[in-house]
């Protein structure tokens, strides 16, 4: 008997591989396939194919890393917020990103990995995070645009993940989605406020939109024709919609929001397709996405250096907490001696 979050039992490698074991494996696979086909959730100690586990670890870790690295672009503005109200809002939002990272690392650990190892892999460049956080935040309007577009895109991506086939991941996403709504609304309200201000403020908003629009579309990943893992992830119910479907949904949601705000989206090809009921948009620069994902974005090195500095520079805090716990445990033991 083990705890619910302990890694599932692996087959005993010392056991003699006999026909029974092969049959058992087949039966387990059939049971897993039936669970997925019925739309039921897979839970931590269930048997699951190794590929399913690896795909989940990769996706959840990448997602968790994105939340943690995502604290940085907006965190850069915490000490320069234009008012106490904006500062309190931004602080709450950045704290949420940390919380989202923790929910996701917690989900990843149910698959038998250790979150400290995942952080090491991030810092060593062996695991990735969302390309969007490798762009700089040049003005306070960027804080608003990140809330509106970047968190808006994240919501498009994440709402279907609340029905992901892996229970702990789906439950983490439900918590996260509840909180993301605040993120998007505070951003849009910030932009509305700036649009009601001076010409210079409106120009700042438009400039931020011009810089973040295309990177936001890239958040959904490569086009379906160039997304090697998508088909298997959808078959397993880890993903529920393709990259291109979600990207289209995001564009359809964002165009009327841009109109209400009074900004222009930087795409001359953007046009309404009445027959299909969709906004058609111009070609995305996939070379830019590849470049930024593979380390060539404006801020990749800075983001990782800061994460490394946080891990190493804060090690004394965890050491102090461990020492405190050890001391109190010893005192407590003494009381009962």
């Amino acid at each position: 008997m083990t705890a619910p979050t302990a890694p599932p039992a692996v087959p005993d490698e010392t056991a003699v591989p006999d026909q029974t074991a092969v049959l058992d494996e087949t039966a387990l696979q059939q049971h897993f396939d039936a669970t997925i086909a019925a739309g039921h959730r897979v839970e931590p100690r269930d048997w699951m194919p190794e590929g399913y586990r690896k795909t989940l670890v990769r996706q959840i870790a990448q997602h968790a890393h994105s939340e943690i690295i995502g604290m940085q672009p907006e965190g850069d503005w915490l000490l320069a917020a234009p008012s106490l109200r904006r500062k309190a809002v931004l602080l709450a939002k950045v704290q949420d990103e940390a919380g989202h990272g923790m929910y996701l690392y917690s989900a990843a650990e149910t698959l038998g990995v250790d979150r400290a190892d995942l952080t090491d892999k991030l810092i060593e460049g062996r695991q990735k995070y969302s390309s969007i956080f490798n762009y700089p935040t040049l003005s306070y309007a960027d804080v608003g645009v990140i809330g509106w577009l970047v968190d808006g895109a994240a919501i498009c991506n994440q709402v279907p993940l609340c029905r992901s086939s892996y229970g702990p991941y789906a439950r983490a996403m439900i918590r996260i989605c509840k909180e993301e709504s605040f993120h998007q609304r505070q951003g849009y309200e910030l932009l509305l406020t700036m649009m009601g201000g001076t010409d210079a403020q409106r120009a700042m908003v438009q400039d931020a939109v011009d810089r973040w629009w295309w990177p936001s579309l890239m958040m959904f990943g490569p086009p379906d024709t160039d997304s090697p893992n998508s088909a298997q992830s959808m078959a397993w119910g880890i993903k529920r919609h393709s990259n291109d479907e979600l990207r289209q949904r995001f564009v359809d949601m964002s165009v009327p929001q841009a109109q209400a705000l009074g900004v222009t989206l930087p795409d001359p090809d953007l046009s309404w397709d009445a027959d299909a009921g969709h906004w058609r948009f111009g070609p995305v620069d996939w070379d830019e996405l590849k470049r930024v994902i593979s380390g060539g974005g404006p801020c990749n090195a800075e983001r990782i250096a800061r994460r490394r500095a946080a891990r190493d520079g804060n090690a004394w805090v965890t050491e102090a907490a461990s020492a405190y716990a050890a001391k109190h445990a010893a005192e407590h033991a003494g009381e009962h001696a």
């Binding site: 083990t2 839970e43 269930d46 989900a107 650990e109 400290a116 918590r175 965890t318 907490a321 405190y324």
Partner: protein
């Protein structure tokens, strides 16, 4: 970060409001029980999600087999007479 690797895993349960059960919400690592409660407060109740928190070391939980088809639960499967719908009564009998 070496210290952190040694911290035990705690499962966190939150009571949403008085009158409700504590419900599992997730897990975290902490150096001891008391700090686990504080960390759980910061992580899982940033928006009034709870009025009470339980933390328990994951290693201290004893659980049944994960498989829902486990024979452990089979004995209750065939006892349909334990459900009120098993009994046919005339429709005009009141308050039943």
């Amino acid at each position: 970060m070496t210290a952190r690797r040694d911290w035990p895993l705690y499962e966190v349960f939150v009571r949403g409001k008085r009158g409700l059960n504590h419900v599992h919400v997730g897990s975290l690592h902490a150096p001891d029980d008391e700090m686990a409660v504080h960390a759980a407060r910061d992580l899982y109740t940033r928006r009034n999600e709870g009025v009470s928190i339980w933390v328990v070391r994951a290693a201290h939980i004893t659980a049944s087999s994960p498989d829902e088809k486990d024979p452990m639960f089979a004995p209750s499967g065939d006892k349909v007479y334990r459900h009120p719908t098993f009994y046919d009564l005339p429709e005009d009998v009141p308050h039943m």
